[in-house]
């Protein structure tokens, strides 16, 4: 029997009737049409599906939609400003060529944004260790790490940019 699951996604209240076994990532992709969040594996290893649930990065394949009942969820579609201005992390990925095919990118960006919430001045090592749950096959991580470090610098210089 379908159940009703309500939450706030990218600032908007949403409600959908779904099968109880529906994962959060499928709720977002299939039921809300937010296809920016990707599915890259079936063992919660790749991180392509990372979103923020109540402000914290979560692999959205590893929780049921029902577990996010009442939560505030932010996906990659909700990260840029309403006028389309990129979040400093998105801008840094663009500036430093931190993406190629773009498939891992949404999860990578959402994960990196959370890193800077936890640690505003990460070292290169700390960035690499934080991102070890996000697989990228294209970039060799080099430019992703560079982008995250640069975003950290810029966001420290202008803290409001992160908001």
């Amino acid at each position: 029997m379908p159940i009703t699951v309500k939450m706030t996604v990218n600032g908007k209240a949403v409600s959908r009737d779904v099968e109880p076994r529906t994962l959060l990532v499928h709720y977002l992709r299939e039921h809300l049409g937010l296809t920016g969040t990707h599915v890259g594996c079936d063992t919660s290893q790749c991180g392509a599906c990372v979103v923020h649930v109540d402000g914290k990065s979560v692999k959205s394949c590893s929780m049921l939609a029902a577990q996010a009942e009442g939560a505030a969820v932010t996906t990659i579609e909700g990260l840029a400003a309403a006028d389309g201005t990129l979040h400093p992390m998105q801008e840094a990925f663009r500036e430093h060529h931190g993406l190629q095919c773009g498939f891992c990118t949404p999860g990578m960006v959402m994960s990196a944004v959370d890193l800077l919430q936890v640690n505003a001045s990460p070292s290169e090592r700390e960035v690499r260790e934080w991102l070890e749950g996000n697989l990228c096959r294209c970039t060799g991580y080099h430019n992703i790490v560079k982008a995250v470090l640069d975003a950290a610098d810029k966001m420290r210089a202008t803290p409001q940019a992160a908001e």
Partner: protein, 788 residues
């Protein structure tokens, strides 16, 4: 001169959509009324199918169809093909076993497609797939590359009793034997090139969509070459004639070769969509990707290098057994032959080379091109044996290479294995790499590491590759079933902006930016006024797609030809507009001028006039749109040096890469930012092969033991350092852009650099991947030997 043309680090045009979640990958597409496919796959590596009972599955909720190999046969759906004929040394053609889209009579590897269930929802399709009851008669399994041809092994294809697809050779055996008989020193090496699973982050996916009204099909699929898909599905599989089949490869999340091939799944989705009169969608779960994407590499090789007393190379002899898997995938046959042995000369003058390759069938997933395709295997053989020889001869590895390099004044250089190298300066890239790696300070760093009880080592890899695949006449003479030219078209709109259509395909390489830069430089139109379209057979001219680092060298060159035609046409229009002779019209930086006057018309004004030709003379055709096909004159030969420095912890066997330098000669570079990114990514794929990745089959059962990211060890951000990447440039004389291609170099060179470094550190030979356990075991064995 435009500031966003050739040579500029232009930020990518495609990034905004990817960074904001607005990419359109196949799984993001949903068609009205779409149904879902789930495949029933073989749990056994080798078995005869006694019967398939689809009754319970057909009766399950939501099920629209359950289809098997018999249904495919009844509908005249042909098997999958291999597009390159290899001839054995005895003159006989390769033996290609049949490759049905759904198994007929037998299954030949774990994951082989047995049946498909199409249902209203994905969950219903998957649930019903579990109900398909297949009665198997288990057969003996052959899963080992080295012993696939041994007497008494079960036959993967009944009609090919020795599991041998071909026994192929290249080079002069007699001359090579003579070289060895006169050698002062011979270095011998056994080499395993480990089997890999490509693992593009986007799993393969397909939507087959049959339109009854027009009796035509659309296939949305994860393809690196949509026109090749269309051609094979039409001409060989027989789904629909070409003009009734549209193939769309939208945003594709990485390919690395694995999305070149025509697979059973997309074929079945197309066919099933006509059967059920609904669009049929399938997206691979990652577990399916591990089982059924074409794998890469998997060679077992014996190599011998003959030298004189000074370390001059006299001859190279190589025997390789190449595992082709259970079926011949689309280009499987050419990868361990013509993409491999012609590169065995490396950057060196080797007067005599003889290579033998035995292609074998096993009960494993098909093996085909994976980033580098044959060239990493060749580089690994050459660079491992050269470094081993240096160690044995007591010659510095850089010095041994320098003694044998083809000199910058020796081009064109004809190797003994087909290739004619056209340009390069190998010592320049080696020297620059040694400076960046501080090779001079190595001894001190080794001593310092020793004081901390760590083992430090350095490894070189001086690679060469043949890219820009390829001159049609050349590949045709070697057995290719296709020409490997590329197409492009340039259309000016009346308002002066430009649509570029290319037959190549971008799945991360950034064509939308690089090709726009090319147009900017050649036609003076800013990149933001250029839209590059690819990946749709209804929109783009017939093209061969993207692989073998060919897009810019071949596809870009086609666009240069089209741009020249645009200028020629524009010159006619400008002459008319400015009432001048066509011979007096000059074109530069987007402006047509009348020589010796201040009269000028911008290309945008000319374009507008071309579409509003109110006063054109009768012989001047309206419009400003040109297309071109370009067939290259030669392969391109990117080359360079990578130097890897590692530190090994002898207590744990853990290898840490402490420094990694790459200096590449890609010829002219259009966008250095994108090129460096290609190098970084390639290096990590090579590092992955060297240190952690391996597709492992159980030899007794043929079960894939590394079937998920928990067992198949992908390189992660904390496994690798940042890299030092630099370039040297010898412009390529064989194409109008002077470019060579950069997509595969990193993956081609890195395995040898890393392994040479590890072996230098631990003082023992080792096969890839150099996992902590293997390194520790090698160190223990060494310690034991020293104690005895």
């Amino acid at each position: 001169m435009s500031t966003d043309g050739i040579g500029a680090r232009v930020r990518r045009k495609e990034d905004y959509r990817f960074l904001t979640g607005n990419g359109h990958y196949v799984d993001d597409i949903n068609r009205p009324g779409q149904a879902y496919a789930a495949f029933v796959r073989s749990p056994l590596a080798h078995a005869r199918i006694r019967s398939i009972d689809t009754g319970a599955a057909s009766a399950a909720p939501g099920v629209l169809a359950v289809l098997t190999g018999d249904d495919a046969k009844a509908d005249g759906i042909g098997g999958l093909i291999c597009g390159w004929m290899i001839t054995s040394k005895d003159g006989s053609p390769m033996k290609a076993g049949g490759h049905p889209v759904l198994a007929q009579d037998k299954v030949r590897y774990v994951g082989d497609h047995v049946a498909v269930v199409v249902a209203e929802t994905l969950d219903q399709a998957r649930d019903a797939a579990e109900l398909v009851d297949v009665d198997y008669e288990e057969l003996g399994v052959v899963a080992s590359t080295a012993t696939a041809r041994a007497a008494g092994q079960p036959a993967v294809h009944d009609e090919i009793s020795d599991n041998t697809c071909y026994e192929w050779e290249l080079g002069d055996k007699a001359a090579t034997d003579v070289a060895f008989s006169g050698a002062a020193h011979v270095t011998r090496l056994d080499i395993v090139n480990n089997r890999l699973i490509p693992n593009a982050m986007e799993p393969r996916a397909a939507i087959g969509d049959y339109d009854r009204g027009s009796d035509s099909f659309t296939l949305y699929t994860t393809s690196q070459n949509p026109h090749v898909h269309r051609l094979v599905l039409s001409a060989f599989v027989g789904i629909a004639p070409e003009h009734k089949l549209r193939v769309v490869a939208p945003d594709v999340g990485g390919g690395f070769g694995s999305k070149i091939f025509i697979y059973a799944e997309e074929t079945v989705c197309l066919w099933a969509s006509k059967r059920v009169r609904r669009p049929v969608k399938w997206t691979a779960e990652r577990a399916e990707s591990f089982l059924s994407d074409a794998h890469g590499r998997d060679h077992v090789t014996k190599a011998e290098l003959a030298m004189d007393a000074n370390g001059k190379f006299l001859g190279l002899r190589v025997h390789t057994i190449a595992n082709l898997g259970a079926y011949l995938s689309t280009f499987a046959s050419c990868v361990p032959t013509y993409l491999y042995a012609p590169l065995l000369s490396g950057q060196y003058k080797i007067p005599a080379i003889y290579a033998e390759v035995d292609g074998v069938y096993t009960n494993t997933a098909p093996v085909d091109a994976y980033r580098g395709a044959g060239r990493p295997e060749a580089t690994y053989v050459v660079e491992r044996i050269v470094e081993t020889a240096a160690r044995e001869m007591g010659i510095d590895p850089a010095e041994l290479r320098r003694r044998n390099f083809i000199g910058p004044d020796e081009y064109p250089y004809q190797t003994p294995v087909i290739m004619t190298y056209d340009c390069g300066d190998y010592n320049a890239s080696l020297t620059k790499a040694m400076e960046l790696a501080d090779y001079g300070g190595l001894a001190a760093r080794k001593a310092e590491a020793r004081a901390r009880a760590k083992l430090r080592g350095v490894g070189f890899s001086c690679y060469i590759e043949a890219c820009g695949i390829a001159p049609s006449a050349a590949v045709g003479s070697l057995g290719a079933g296709v020409g490997l030219w590329e197409s492009g078209s340039i259309r000016f709109n009346p308002t002066g902006n430009v649509i570029v259509n290319t037959g190549s395909h971008s799945h991360g390489q950034g064509h939308e930016t690089t090709f726009a830069q090319l147009i900017s430089s050649h036609l003076g139109v800013p990149t933001d006024q250029v839209e590059v379209v690819h990946g749709d057979t209804d929109k783009t001219p017939f093209g061969m797609g993207t692989y073998g680092s060919r897009s810019l060298a071949v596809g870009g060159s086609a666009l240069v030809k089209a741009a020249e035609k645009i200028v020629a046409k524009g010159r006619k229009i400008a002459a008319h507009l400015m009432e001048a002779s066509e011979a007096d019209i000059e074109f530069k930086d987007g402006k047509f001028t009348v020589a010796g006057t201040d009269k000028e018309k911008s290309i945008q004004e000319v374009a507008f006039a071309a579409y509003v030709p109110h006063n054109f003379p009768p012989d001047l055709e309206p419009g400003l749109e040109e297309n071109a096909f370009y067939d290259p004159l030669n392969f391109t030969f990117p080359a360079g040096t990578q130097i890897c420095e590692v530190e090994v912890d002898p207590d744990t066997g853990v290898v840490e890469i402490v420094n990694f330098v790459a200096v590449d000669d890609f010829g002219v570079v259009i966008n250095p930012m994108i090129v460096e990114g290609q190098v970084h990514g390639g290096i990590v794929q090579g590092v992955g092969q060297a240190l952690c990745e391996a597709a492992v089959y159980d030899e007794g059962t043929g079960q894939l033991l590394t079937g998920s990211y928990m067992d198949y060890r992908m390189p992660r951000a904390d496994d690798v350092p940042s890299f030092k990447v630099d370039m040297t440039v010898t412009p390529n004389p064989s194409n109008p852009l002077g470019v060579k291609g950069c997509g595969e170099a990193g993956a081609i060179a890195a395995p040898a650099a890393v392994m040479n470094a590890v072996i230098d550190a631990i003082g023992a030979d080792l096969q890839m991947p150099a996992t902590a356990e293997r390194v520790w075991q090698a160190l223990q064995a060494g310690t034991k030997m020293a104690a005895e």
